[in-house]
Symmetry: C2
Subunit: 160 residues, 2 copies
């Protein structure tokens, strides 16, 4: 999962204990309730209740193992900026592209283009095929920027 877009409205976390819990679970998604209890000074069951509330309220969307993209056979990443061919037409590009599993993210943006996608593929050939498929499905032109190297890529990480 971990989808975004039109979801529930989620207000910023104000409670400092909840912030600690969220920070700890972002650093280690498999951290035990006991470890969270130690960090927060609360009992295990109090922490459990808070974690559940954070999960059901949508603050915590889920948990995922972070996997090396090369191990997944997807060593090539790229940014694909797309622009509708016909600006008059209804713009449902995100829905049309959601089915392409190579697309990791789809952002609508301000500026020259309508959307920017972040994609991962197995090879240059696969990138070409993906770009063709994007153009075909969403009726867009594309401008692709190949990622040569990723220096870092982290789960966001705020001050506290």
């Amino acid at each position: 999962m971990t989808s975004d877009g039109p979801g529930l409205p989620v207000a910023p976390i104000d409670d400092p204990v909840d912030r600690k819990i969220v920070a700890a679970l972002r650093a280690d998604g498999r951290g035990t309730l006991k470890s969270l209890a130690d960090v927060t000074g609360l009992s295990v069951s109090a922490v459990q209740a808070r974690v559940r509330r954070l999960e059901t309220s949508g603050v915590i969307r889920g948990y995922a193992a972070t996997v090396d993209p090369e191990a997944l056979g997807l060593p090539l990443a790229a940014l694909v900026a797309i622009t509708p061919l016909d600006p008059a037409q209804p713009d449902d590009a995100p829905e049309r592209l959601a089915g392409l599993s190579e697309i990791e993210a789809c952002h609508s943006v301000a500026g020259d283009d309508a959307y920017v996608l972040f994609v991962r593929v197995a090879s240059p050939t696969a990138l070409e095929q993906l770009i063709r498929e994007i153009r075909r499905r969403a009726h867009v032109t594309t401008r692709t920027t190949v990622v040569l190297q990723t220096f870092f890529e982290r789960p966001a990480a705020p001050g506290s």
Copy 2:
């Protein structure tokens, strides 16, 4: 964790059981060894040994809770393309920028710019300050594309 760049070389996973395990842990990072044992048909201890091997070999880099960016107080995202002011100078932009926690990802790219950053901030004002700081630290010009809406953003998700 979840850093990238010059790390250990990680070959693609060829074992189908390992692929099942990795897929399951990407879908649910808190999935129990028992659930993985059920999925794979292996015993719990066999699965445990495999998971450990995947972790220590660098295939699985870690586990993280996926958190709503708005809940973190970072509702504004942007792509920042940067170009060195002096191409003759040694280019250590990634190191100089790594300390800025608002920068979620730093990719070196082919094309007009040297790097593209993905950043998250609290407000337009914070974005301006961040851009100033990026320019100052890395001696670069910047071209910023504001993200208006994120339609989806998922942990990659390969075919199987």
